[in-house]
């Protein structure tokens, strides 16, 4: 009890002794830590971009850890060297901070804890393609408070780290540079499925973006539906950044070969889609197949 009282007195004494000079020193230390973290992050990012695809991810993984270490050292220096606060005093300070958190900075604290969890538990890493909440994109930065994502439309989204406590996180590659891509194509029900599957398989394995390995096999699936047939290719893209290029490349080359072999897209009328003259919105997945087969469109008219 005596010890706690002594600690409390020492802590109060320390906190009341903070003058302008000390405040400036603290701000300077944080500033130096921030600049240092930025420099190291930039250097590591640039280095990783020059490396192989797997090397890029490996280097980027260490960026959040380096940042965390820099900030821990900064905090340690401030508490240990400037305030001379150790042990029980830190516990007391935590109590005071807890009260402060209760009053107003709960969210910030939650984000910081989220940042620590992300750094050490690694539900995702820099370079991963993730979906969290309603966001999807490549993780470009993980700071203590927030995670930055670049969406497929090149928008930068800053998602608070506390999202991981409330939302499920899905990582498409989880530290690898290759990532599975699912490509769906829809063909007319009367098409020769065997030929179509062979063409789709060849389009996938011959794509310049494909990652081929026995550990990451290419799977071609067929599902016959009442009015049309769905073909699905599950394959890995060599670099997750080329996900959409890969999809587009497979679609384009598959449809060129489908047309040579008389394989057509489903007719619009069997999908209950209104006439092209009217104002309507097509389902995105269906739309992309029709673009390469104008024959089907003409017939439906």
């Amino acid at each position: 009890m005596v010890d706690v009282n002594t600690s409390r007195e020492q802590l109060l004494e320390t906190l009341t002794s903070i003058d302008t000079q000390t405040l400036i020193t603290i701000i300077l230390i944080f500033l130096i830590a921030y600049v240092l973290a930025r420099i190291i992050t930039t250097l590591l990012s640039k280095l990783s971009e020059k490396m192989s695809r797997s090397g890029r991810i490996k280097v980027k993984i260490i960026i959040p850890i380096v940042k965390f270490v820099i900030y821990v050292i900064a905090f340690y220096y401030i508490f240990g060297e400037i305030f001379k606060i150790f042990g029980a005093e830190i516990l007391l300070l935590t109590g005071i901070l807890g009260a402060a958190i209760g009053f107003g900075i709960k969210d910030l604290f939650s984000d910081l804890i989220g940042g620590l969890v992300i750094t050490f538990e690694k539900p995702y890493q820099i370079g991963d393609k993730i979906s969290i909440g309603s966001y999807y994109g490549e993780v470009t930065d993980i700071s203590l408070r927030a995670t930055k994502l670049v969406t497929p439309d090149a928008n930068t989204v800053t998602a608070p780290n506390s999202l991981i406590f409330n939302e499920a996180v899905a990582s498409g590659n989880y530290g690898a540079s290759e990532m599975m891509v699912v490509i769906d194509l829809y063909i007319a029900g009367e098409s020769n499925v065997e030929t179509a599957m062979r063409i789709l398989r060849e389009a996938v394995v011959s794509s310049k973006y494909v990652y081929i390995s026995k550990k990451s096999p290419i799977v071609i699936l067929h599902k016959a539906l009442p009015f049309y047939t769905r073909l699905r290719a599950k394959a890995y893209v060599n670099d997750l950044r080329d996900q959409f290029k890969f999809e587009s490349d497979v679609h384009t080359r598959t449809w060129i070969e489908f047309q040579k072999n008389g394989i057509r897209a489903p007719q619009l009328n069997v999908l209950n889609i209104p006439s092209m003259e009217g104002n309507y919105e097509l389902d995105v997945t269906t739309l992309r197949n029709f673009g390469s087969n104008t024959g089907g469109l003409k017939k439906s008219k």
């Binding site: 695809r53 060849e202 070969e257």
Partner: protein, 350 residues
């Protein structure tokens, strides 16, 4: 004047190549076939590593019972793979990496070939480019059709010496010591080449080395020590640069030779700083995997002749490829190390 070894004519070429084990294994499989065991053979090697030469040696050994077919461009007609009526029981197919075209609808000949080699009562000995083999094996399980797979190993230094010098008469080539060889006869610095796939670059690291040959000659008081030292240094540099690949070694030799004289300092060490757009890199990987491609073939795979012109111009100006007398584009032998490292970095070959 020189001390080069050229009295190797009496040896069979297979022995010169240091491929006695490989030839033995192939011959054993052919012998097994005669007793009813059918094991198709794939000879697999990187560019310029000697697979055609090895197949030629197999054909020479089995002249009376072998039929040979070689491809020099992408096969488009089924007739090219069909066997003649008088085909013998051992069939040799050279350059099988030309049996497919990397595009949808470009694998029909390849499927037919696999069907033929698995259904016909013959033994098939085939050669494949290493990168194509790995690609087709991962994508189509090609290895299942070839129970015997021979990967041609790199030459050792002595094999490489014989391979290069067998082309010349005794003492025809003059090995001359350069300034560095004279000034640092015992201890010298040699630059070891390393191909770093994670950086996509070939780098050179200087390493100090003791000249054992010089030391030995000095102790034995031999007169020709200077010449032997020069020869040793020339061949050592070629060996390190080529990593035991005979085709690359020969090219480096030819580039350094000022007939009939050659000096260690004239043996080049090549490193190319490659930075290409993805499509150009993919085209380069195709040229590497097929070993040689015509412009029309590349255009058919890429899908645009205009783009191919741009890419080929870019690759030619960066001196990564050359156009041979058959109008095929090939990777320059001296650039192979850098190109492979770059392709491995992008995981376009592995």
């Amino acid at each position: 004047m020189g001390t080069q070894h050229s009295g190797s004519e009496e040896k069979s070429f297979g022995e010169i190549l240091g491929l006695r084990d490989e030839i033995g294994e192939i011959q054993a499989s052919i012998a097994d076939y005669e007793t009813g065991k059918k094991l198709n053979i794939a000879i697999i090697a990187g560019n310029l590593a000697g697979k055609t030469t090895l197949l030629g040696e197999i054909e020479r050994i089995n002249l009376s019972r072998a039929t040979g077919i070689a491809f020099s461009e992408i096969v488009r007609d089924r007739k090219e793979i069909s066997l003649p009526d008088d085909a013998k029981r051992v069939v040799l197919f050279d350059n099988c990496h030309y049996l497919y075209m990397r595009k949808p609808g470009g694998f029909d000949i390849f499927y037919e070939f696999l069907d033929m080699i698995s259904s016909q009562d013959r033994i098939f000995v085939t050669t494949w480019n290493l990168h194509t083999w790995k690609y087709l094996n991962e994508a189509f399980g090609l290895g299942r059709y070839f129970p015997v797979q021979i990967f041609i190993p790199a030459f050792n230094k002595e094999d490489l010496r014989l391979f290069i010098l067998k082309r010349y008469g005794k003492n025809e080539i003059i090995f001359a010591s350069d300034k560095q060889s004279k000034e640092e006869p015992l201890l010298y610095i040699i630059k070891y080449p390393f191909e770093l796939a994670f950086l996509g670059k070939k780098i050179f690291i200087p390493v100090p080395k003791i000249n054992i040959l010089y030391l030995k000659n000095r102790l034995l008081n031999k007169q020709e020590q200077e010449i032997e030292t020069a020869e040793d240094r020339v061949l050592e540099k070629i060996y390190l640069e080529s990593k035991g690949n005979p085709g690359i070694a020969l090219r480096i030799w030819e580039l350094g030779l000022d007939y009939p004289r050659i000096e260690p300092k004239n043996i080049g060490q090549f490193s190319f700083n490659i930075d290409l757009e993805y499509e150009a890199a993919f085209t380069l990987s195709l040229i590497l995997s097929y070993q040689g491609l015509k412009k029309t073939e590349i255009a058919e795979i890429i899908g645009s002749i205009i783009r191919v012109d741009e890419i080929l111009f870019q690759l030619l100006t960066q001196e990564l490829i050359l156009k041979d007398e058959a109008n095929s584009y090939r990777v320059r032998p001296e650039a192979l190390g850098s190109v492979i490292a770059y392709m491995e970095k992008l995981r376009l070959v592995w």
